[in-house]
């Protein structure tokens, strides 16, 4: 199985499936029709079936409304209108390009194949020839709704997959792969802006004993709680991820050595108290933290991580529950 390419936007974790379900804009139709008779017929027939209809009478207003964020996503555009004609509106709506899809039904008195091809090529999804019949109109509108629902379902599924591919299933933090990509981007940004960047490796002390004594489910609960506590201690724009096993990684830009130290102190204190309860256990958990700070950037990611790793092992050797730093 091939893994699809994933683009990661640095906006922090988003819950899967919530971003794009715009059901509120379904059931609404934008009608652009300059002829009062057709406008009234469309309004009456659609409203009668429970649709909410918004009407405009010229092409420019139609385009303006179609591109607005709160606009209906089902558009019925008359071909011949003052201002802009239907096909041109189709072209501009498609050029406007966004994640959301508008289903466009072109109304036309033209029924020669060349015209219909022109309308569809311009970006219309379907067309309805005037004078149309009420049943056909409503059936085509239902097709449009079906397509929009399908589109929304696919987007939601894509969003869920994107989330799963970039986040750690247990803790909801960035996963290792996503974090490396984000870290590279963050490093480039730091170079560009000439600001320092620090990488923190946070390793839970004696985690193997927790697993051995309390069981793996308790171990999982502890990992989740530590992830929550770390999330609460960092700044919203810091990158926090699960590096593997019982190890977390944090990248924070624009902190000098003192600032990095203070952040590490916050992490250390935030994690260790109060004891974590899981079932009948109350476990006092501590972490060892290694920090590597590149003051003048242009330091490869690997070097930062190696530095943080070495510092973290030093913290382990010096007795755990402490912070060691190295400057690159």
């Amino acid at each position: 199985m091939t893994v699809p390419a994933i683009t990661i936007e640095q906006t922090g974790p988003i819950a899967p499936g919530v971003a794009l379900s715009k059901t509120a804009t379904l059931g609404r139709v934008l009608v652009a029709e300059d002829d009062a008779l057709y406008r009234h017929a469309l309004d009456h027939l659609l409203t009668g079936k429970g649709y909410e209809v918004e009407s405009v009478t010229d092409g420019l207003k139609a385009l303006e409304r179609a591109c607005a964020a709160d606009a209906p996503r089902l558009l019925m555009l008359d071909w011949m209108m003052p201002g802009l004609q239907g096909p041109e509106i189709c072209r501009r709506v498609r050029e406007h390009g966004s994640l959301r899809y508008e289903y466009i039904l072109l109304l036309t008195a033209k029924h020669n194949p060349d015209d219909i091809v022109e309308g569809l090529e311009a970006g219309a999804d379907d067309y309805l020839v005037k004078p149309f019949n009420a049943h056909e109109l409503l059936a085509r509108v239902r097709v449009g709704e079906r397509m929009l629902r399908l589109h929304d379902g696919l987007l939601a599924a894509q969003e869920t997959l994107r989330f799963q591919a970039t986040h750690d299933a247990l803790t909801g933090l960035w996963n290792r792969r996503a974090l490396f990509e984000l870290l590279n981007a963050e490093l480039e940004r730091a170079v560009r802006k000439s600001v320092p960047i620090s990488v923190f490796l946070v390793d839970i002390d004696h985690f193997k004993q927790v697993n051995d004594q309390c069981g793996h489910l308790a171990g999982d609960a502890i990992l989740q709680e530590i992830a929550n506590r770390l999330s609460a201690a960092v700044r919203p724009y810091d990158l926090l991820g699960r590096f593997g096993g019982e190890e977390f990684i944090l990248a924070a830009a624009e902190l000098d050595l003192d600032g990095a130290r203070q952040l590490a102190d916050r992490l250390l204190a935030g994690v260790s108290s109060p004891p974590i309860r899981s079932g009948s256990y109350a476990v006092e958990v501590t972490v060892s933290i290694g920090v590597a700070t590149a003051l003048t950037a242009n330091c490869p990611v690997e070097k930062l991580i190696q530095g943080a790793d070495a510092a973290m092992y030093q913290a382990k050797h010096k007795g755990r529950n402490r912070i060691e730093a190295c400057r690159l």
């Binding site: 300059d34 002829d35 008779l37 009234h40 009456h44 011949m80 149309f132 009420a134």
Partner: protein, 121 residues
Amino acid sequence: MPVTWDQAAALERVDGDSDLLTELVEIFVQDYPKHLACLVQALAQNDYAALCRAAHTLKGSLGYLGACEGQQLALEIEHASRAGDAARLRQLVSSLAAYLEALREIISPPSGEHDRAGDHY
């Protein structure tokens, strides 16, 4: 020029909703003089694009209401405007004007009905 109104076809088009059809007729009767005036003015100015637009609108409305001869006349005006045939256009526009006058007599609801439809809209 015969003037017939295929009311049954129009009614079927709106799914048998006779109130809606009455409202549409009402709108048409109010609106068509405006489009006809556009035609006459465009003809006087040899503005073929405007002639074509006004004829197109009338063609659509007449087709929806089931006024087939009128729809055909409007279509011919569209064609003649594209061809720039001024003599033919004069003849067609005057035929259409007479046709619309006669059609109005046929499709207008009786005056009592008229008020009721007006309230509706």
